[in-house]
Symmetry: C2
Subunit: 594 residues, 2 copies
């Protein structure tokens, strides 16, 4: 039984930075070779980043991806890594040679995996199952592949698959069984969702049984706009045993020795194969064809054994906190912002955003501004100052009243217009400081507020990134409490315990305008995340009058939300791309017409 | 040869307003019956509006659409229209009975057409070809139908098809030939693009030849968020003759008498059919099955002949102007805004927006604010006042300097921060007036400005709708000149001829920061609308240094544009949903890294 030492490179790539991503492949490949690995596998679309969306329509981009793959194979030989098998994701396209920057034509764009060896692109595989739901629009961007690629490597048949291939039964994993593969390498860019790691292990186990083969699942790690990839790479044996598992939200190599069946002895192999050259073995209607390639007769011997170990799972709150900090850090760093700025009110939302920012970027890159109005309480200002003291972030005060008075003296405003004016003057101050000093403005509105429109357009909604965009208010409190149990408790107790208030008129409380968050958040979850209608929400035990009131607020707020900043996605369905409701929409779930 | 009098109902429906849309079907059906029609056809998704996007995931919405269809059939009988065949688009779903608001389950959502007759839903057809490009994401929302429905009506075999079915060869139109259909009814929600009407006629002719049948093409008219449906309904005979054609951008019935082959004599019919009841005739692998239904043995006799006539095509400028006014009117009215407000600077962009608004809504619903700064020229103020005088819109002046001075006195700002501050104070004033008086704020930035980021975030980019979002600057001038050749020339000549300026610092001109719009606009079109890369743009004759400069500006502006208002789409590819580029994106076409 050959022993293959595999390295799963759970690493962070950047959309569009093809050169930088290729350099990362070389760096991590050196490390894998140093650990004695025979094969290293990188995530889906490693070379281009994921998701590339409409970039795929630019031929010059696709050509650059293909060129980078060829160049990478040669560079690896130059690095002395010609004997290391490197599996890496990239974007490919059907069409002519890919040297000219605009030579690629046609619609056949592919989400591809390649195996590099000895300076050559030895084998390629095109993703078969394309997801087209939630955050995915791959039917729009790619054509599905129709054949499985199996590489005989060191006497083991290794099948190449990509991401969604593992989420659907049939297709590549069934074909892998038919092909007698001993190992299936599945490369992923699988975004984080709360509790998704609980789903992944049984899924990989199911597919290992389907393929009758060991499955090596490698996932990306890192933030990309609204998505965060959480890693959680793992290896599962054909009988379902979890052999090794990487940590969540951390970069690294998972190196593990696998005893795999020799190709000729593979239990499900069909007939004999010619290992000397690539061949198409069969093409059965309604089944995937199987392409075979052979590159290496036997693996180099290993002196000592390597066990990747099984990393412990972290708590839900730790998971979400890690997703939010990683999402913010990568948004800031990949977009090359030096620093962030936010309004710090003393309330829970801005306190949690400040704590996330400090954890993500360090206090020296975080700038906070207290902007008290005539209605801000003393303790609000104290709580903001206390937060600054605890974390070491840069803190200053800018009074808004003189500017607010300037508008009021020149215009006839009353009621809501005056409340919103205060929030908008704060927005102008933050944007002026952003222009003057170069900070990215962070928005601090939570998901509950956004859902019901309890915010000011171009006021507190101003900003380039909103860490809490997909975090309901009840979860904001939970996160604050959890974070304070960890090192350097950053959040003043008073910010957590006091009644929430926008402080835009005397003695204003959220509860003047909104139901309790304990009853509000489940309705938001049902209507927004789960597409439940009024009847289903009432059936689920929510008060009918309350359901009517909340759905009406959400329907009205839908259009305001269009203008809000992107933020890290953590739920099954977030505001943003995967929830693109029409703005003009007279269909209302509320009992009364608007 | 039976004579069928058909009425194509080129009408406007509203997304989500199922009740109102059903009422419109009844109203127009009465009119069709009054004109003696045997059959009236309404657009795709008439009952629900189009596009419904994620509303389709709410079971209660789908159930409401199905219920409305059944109710409509009965209402039509109550209206004395039981003998009129009514073809109408709606959303359907596979699954149990559709009376309970949440009874529909499963993934089988359908973009459907139904034929109503005698109080019954006599036949249904599910769209076969689903578009999943540009503004369309139908693979995400619907499952394709796999059988063609043919209704024997008055002795004529009438095939039902939906929209994209006519844009692709094969499928329903081939099946219609096989089924011996005499008439194919194709119902559409086909969005306007410049010159799209030039493409439609040859397309319908091609498909009529493919089916060997007369084709009746009915399209929606009206605005929905960023889309405008332009009508242009038409009837083409099997030998390609254009028999009748409706106007562009206008509601109405196109009523026309068609001499059609009797079903038994249909030239391509396969074998005999049982006209008494629905039957599945055949199900050939890789071909569509054919469902047949029969409902009416012969048409009522007609006394006089009806010819729908062929409406003349309008000029490109008239077409765009009609699209922009209809898009704005429907956005305002369908979202139930009473009025709009905009900043009127005396420049060309705000002048054209004001003219569009007045044409769309009438001057009594348009409010304009001149907000001069210290750098605004006298003639700017005069031009704004002159525009108000010519159109009769509501006009006032709000000085921004006192508020700008308030910020400058309390903060240390310089350079770009001060320029942006002026634009943001204007944004706060417009939003305050919006809150106080209830107007929708219109944004006035054109596509060229937006593309290169020549605007202030939360400043002049403030607003709920931007009529010029997809209109390049060179086209803004063309439209202004064209509009002034029409009745009541609204735009002061000086606004058209003067050099464009943001007037945010002394003697500022657009040409200080931007290339001439004559050379800028073609590069924007190539890079943004056509996905051309740098090499292709240079090859097309653009100056390489200029290409580098402009692509760099566009890449940098990509993220700012995310926060801008929706606007009417008129080009092949607009900023917005059909161009969803990653924000974090290090792939740059410019020669230098950013």
């Amino acid at each position: 039984m050959p022993t293959l030492r595999i390295a799963l490179a759970q690493v962070n790539s950047t959309v569009g930075d093809i050169h930088g991503n290729a350099e990362a492949v070389r760096r991590w490949s050196r490390e894998a070779a140093g650990a004695g690995a025979h094969l290293v596998a990188f995530p889906e679309m490693m070379l281009t980043g994921y998701p590339i969306e409409d970039l795929v329509f630019r031929n010059s981009f696709v050509a650059a991806s293909r060129q980078a793959l060829d160049d990478l194979a040669i560079s690896l030989v130059g690095d002395g890594l010609g004997e290391l098998a490197v599996v890496v994701g990239y974007v490919d396209a059907d069409g002519p040679a890919h040297t000219s920057s605009d030579a690629v034509s046609g619609k056949g764009r592919r989400d591809a995996s390649a195996l590099l060896y000895g300076g050559q692109v030895v084998a390629t595989y095109f993703k078969h199952h394309l997801p087209n739901y939630g955050v995915f629009d791959e039917d729009r961007y790619f054509e599905p592949g129709s054949s499985l690629t199996v590489v005989r490597l060191g006497g083991v048949d290794v099948a190449l698959t990509v991401c969604e291939d593992i989420w659907q039964a049939g297709g590549p994993f069934t074909a892998a069984r038919r092909a007698g593969a001993g190992l299936v390498v599945n490369i992923n860019a699988s975004p984080y969702e709360l509790n998704k790691d609980d789903v992944r292990l049984p899924l990989v186990q199911r597919r290992a049984a389907e393929a009758g083969a060991t499955v090596a699942y490698v996932n990306a790690v890192g933030g990309q706009d609204e998505l965060v990839f959480d890693g959680d790479s793992m290896i599962v044996s054909r009988d379902g045993e979890l052999l090794a598992r990487a940590g969540q939200f951390t970069e690294g190599l998972l190196v593990h020795d696998l005893d795999l069946p020799a190709a000729d002895a593979a239990p499900n192999a069909e007939g004999s194969t010619d290992a000397a050259k690539p061949l198409v073995e069969q093409s059965i209607p309604d089944e995937m064809a199987i392409h075979r390639v052979s590159v290496l007769s036997s693996f180099a011997a290993l002196n000592t054994a390597k066990d990747g170990g099984i990393a412990e799972r972290i708590s839900d709150e730790a998971e979400i906190w890690a997703a939010l900090t990683l999402g913010l850090r990568d948004y800031v760093d990949k977009n090359r912002f030096r620093s962030v700025i936010l309004g710090l009110s003393g309330g829970i939302d801005s306190a949690v955003v400040a704590a996330i920012a400090v954890d993500a970027l360090g206090p020296e890159r975080v700038f906070a501004v207290s902007m008290p109005s005539g209605y801000s309480s003393e303790h609000s200002k104290d709580d903001a100052a206390e937060m600054a003291k605890r974390t070491g972030l840069d803190y200053r005060t800018e009074a808004i009243q003189p500017m607010v008075d300037g508008f009021l003296a020149n215009m006839s405003l009353s009621g809501l217009a005056v409340e919103n004016l205060q929030a908008r003057v704060r927005g102008v101050i933050l944007m002026a400081l952003s222009n003057q000093e170069g900070h990215l403005v962070l928005t601090t509105g939570n998901k509950s507020e956004l859902a019901v429109g309890y915010s000011t357009l171009y006021g507190d909604s101003v900003g380039g990134f909103n860490p809490l965009k997909d975090v309901p208010k009840t979860m904001v409190w939970k996160l604050a409490r959890w974070r304070n149990t960890q090192a350097n408790a950053p959040i003043p107790e008073n910010s957590i315990t006091k009644a929430p208030s926008a402080e835009l008129r005397p003695d204003q409380k959220d509860s003047d305008s909104l139901p309790d968050y304990d009853v509000l958040d489940p309705i938001i979850k049902g209507y927004v995340d789960q597409d439940l209608g009024r009847a289903a929400l009432v059936e689920a035990g929510n008060d009918p009058a309350l359901v009517d009131r909340v759905l009406r607020m959400i329907d009205l707020a839908e259009y305001k939300r269009r203008q809000s900043a992107p933020g890290t996605k953590i739920s099954g369905k977030a505001f943003g791309r995967d929830r693109r409701l029409p703005i003009t929409n007279s269909f209302r779930e509320g009992a009364k017409p608007l």
